[in-house]
Symmetry: C2
Subunit: 194 residues, 2 copies
DNA sequence: AGGCTAAACTTGACACTGTAAAGATAATCA
DNA sequence: TGATTATCTTTACAGTGTCAAGTTTAGCCT
């Protein structure tokens, strides 16, 4: 019927989107290059015109998802009236956790120890760092200083706060967890509890 | 030379041990049934005499590693003089994190969202639960009550504490993290910071 | 002791994976 | 227009999980 053109036209982006959709539906484990190719109506080797290998496509997909998360966190900062209040940090934490609760497969996909790089050393050297953590770190530095937290406690406090939020995301995206309660406020309580 | 007997004799356990060694050296991604079979000097289909499929072997391996972690946590409880002190919880947290720092590949392997079941609902129903969390929960309930923490804050506090420790394990087992500092005491500080 | 049964293992096959090489098509640019 | 080059297809191969059928042997029963 529809005479498919030989050239797809927008294959690179299509592969990224189809790949993410696949992760969302079947999880990281079920992901395969050939499935994604089929989803895009293209031969199994076509992806190699746009990505060096499977790993490179996965990285591009992670970039895309990570950017969504970054947008969410930046919006959270924007829409917070008082940018010096500790309330902002709680809101960022809530956004972070809710992002993964809404798409549980994103967590192991985006935060797999294999590829994730995180820099806890607080010095702002040029070391590559997980952007959401970098953003949280910068914001928290500002907020906590304004609150009058002693300088020598800043670093540990920030790591501790991020660990709590990140761990909460890890735990709430597991198998047996059910979201029958009002998680939005629940998460807020748990983070405040610090 | 050495005429291998047709029957391995202890294949089930050998597969589990060889599998764990493989995870430790090459990571979860590189794990394969056939590699483990070769490591045990046995044909590629031999594992199917002892495990229904790959997934079942992985589960048995996880059981084994999880038991190691449980032993460590139980020892930590035993060797703590004052079993009512919040210091005990910090020590448990430290043991938890150090366990994974010493074997980074264990974290994604043992805590992969795919198979891990965790029950945050605090009610002691018969629901399957991640044993290390169950142990931490029980201990923390006791300790925090003794400390006089109000009853309605117990649940959130325990989840928050475990999230911090678990998140810290997640973060410290990532790619770019270097352990040039004295992590043993560092981790202690971060947990105390709560 | 001798033989039967069932467990433990091997062999061979199949479908599915990632990836490389070589060829086909079509868009772009001189 | 014609050549170049990016994009896609086809074919091929090694590695994977899994199953079915055959082989070996341990252990039990009479």
């Amino acid at each position: 019927m529809t005479n498919k053109p030989y050239h797809h036209g927008n294959l690179r982006n299509s592969l990224i989107e189809a790949g993410i959709k696949l992760i969302n539906q079947e999880g990281t484990r079920q992901f395969s290059l050939r499935k994604v190719a089929v989803l895009c109506g293209v031969s199994h080797a076509a992806p190699y015109s746009h990505f060096k290998n499977k790993e490179e496509l996965l990285k591009a997909m992670q970039d895309h998802v990570r950017e969504q998360l970054m947008e969410l966190l930046e919006n959270t900062i924007q829409s917070c009236s008082n940018s010096n209040s500790p309330y902002l940090l709680v809101q960022m934490g809530k956004s972070y956790v809710m992002f993964f609760i809404k798409n549980p497969h994103y967590f192991p996909f985006l935060c797999s120890q294999l590829c994730m790089e995180i820099n806890l050393s607080m010095d702002d050297d040029g070391t590559k760092n997980f952007p959401p953590f970098e953003l949280f770190k910068t914001t928290a530095f500002h907020v906590l200083r304004e609150m009058g937290l002693p300088e020598d406690k800043l670093k540990d406090t920030i790591i501790s706060m991020f660990a709590t939020v990140h761990g909460l995301a890890s735990i709430t995206t597991m198998k047996n967890v059910h979201y029958d309660e009002d998680w939005e406020t629940k998460i807020e309580d748990i983070i405040w509890n610090k």
